[in-house]
Symmetry: C2
Subunit: 225 residues, 2 copies
Amino acid sequence: MPTLLQHRLDPSCRLVRLMLGEYGVDPKLEDVSHWKRDARLVDIDPAATVPLLLEDGTRAVIGPSAVMHHIEAQHAPSQVAGLIPVDIATRAEMWRMYDWVMLRLNDEVTRYVLEEKIGKRELGQGSPDPSALRAAKANLSEHMQYFAYLLATRRWLAGPDLTLADFALAAHLSALDYLGDVSWDVHEEVKSWFARLKSRPAFRPLLSDRVIHMPPSRTYADLDF
Amino acid sequence: MPTLLQHRLDPSCRLVRLMLGEYGVDPKLEDVSHWKRDARLVDIDPAATVPLLLEDGTRAVIGPSAVMHHIEAQHAPSQVAGLIPVDIATRAEMWRMYDWVMLRLNDEVTRYVLEEKIGKRELGQGSPDPSALRAAKANLSEHMQYFAYLLATRRWLAGPDLTLADFALAAHLSALDYLGDVSWDVHEEVKSWFARLKSRPAFRPLLSDRVIHMPPSRTYADLDF
């Protein structure tokens, strides 16, 4: 059983847990703070990167891409049954949307919200900057509109089948949702897509996550949000 | 022959050209500006993403991950002869360094330098902010120290063999080098690693790149820099 050193609200850690859950692997979770550079994490990786996966308790696999590709290669039942599409065109669309989430959405929304609401708090750097949060909120609203546009004509983010891109977006939105930053009722398409993901067994462990002194939003654990 | 819509100094576009060069594919290059949202680019991708590869002149493959994985799957002579290592541990180290370059180095150095020196210029937004450039320079110096530390004990960035991580870092450093932002003489290990890469046939087309009204640094095209 692999051990995952994670931060509960880090979207890449959430993506990795969703992948492992989807493949029926139940990792041992160890909570660490990359913000505070916890000794446990820095001992293995001086750069304090999460997610960090210890396969067989020893060999360290470090960072989002390394862990994601490792899980896909080692734990997917087969390439065809994996989260990376085999068809060339669908795969290209999947990676396009993966980058969209991991680069654009992260740069324009998730990163700011987490730095302001979690990073500052863990480092005792005071309260969030309202103008950064307002900008992130406005950006998220545009992203949601785009996701709704796509999901109006396709069942999943990259096409007819569930892929890694869906889990990537779900990981980001669920972190934002925990903090009460997602307006679910504006875009019905995104809400029903998220409801479908949320009801998968892989999602269940995430829904019971709690961050100390910071209860989740009303919608977070609710399957009928 | 694929067509690549690229910005000459964009590191992900440079990475893609290096991969294609390494695999003996000579793409048709079309210069576009994602900063200015050129019509040619926006017609295909309203989000104006580069790199954008048109395989067979038609099917669009959009964004860094999509194009990179597409090239690796379609143009590598075989999986073993490709740029993504087959060995599990080496592959994990390769992806760790790939993320290091594409996320950390980009966020802390390359992105700022390009935004300040190229983006602002293309958009007519005035001259670069000296404080942003100073911060990027200080950050680059720390990154170079880390790369030198790694390259003191391994021939290539992720181990004994050339991988995608080497081309990713070379793509970023060559863009910065064009703009005169790399101090090559501080870290001998990085300099000799870059000299080895620069002398590969795949690198040659990049060395003759010129950006209008912006000549390259003295070291840029020199193999004995």
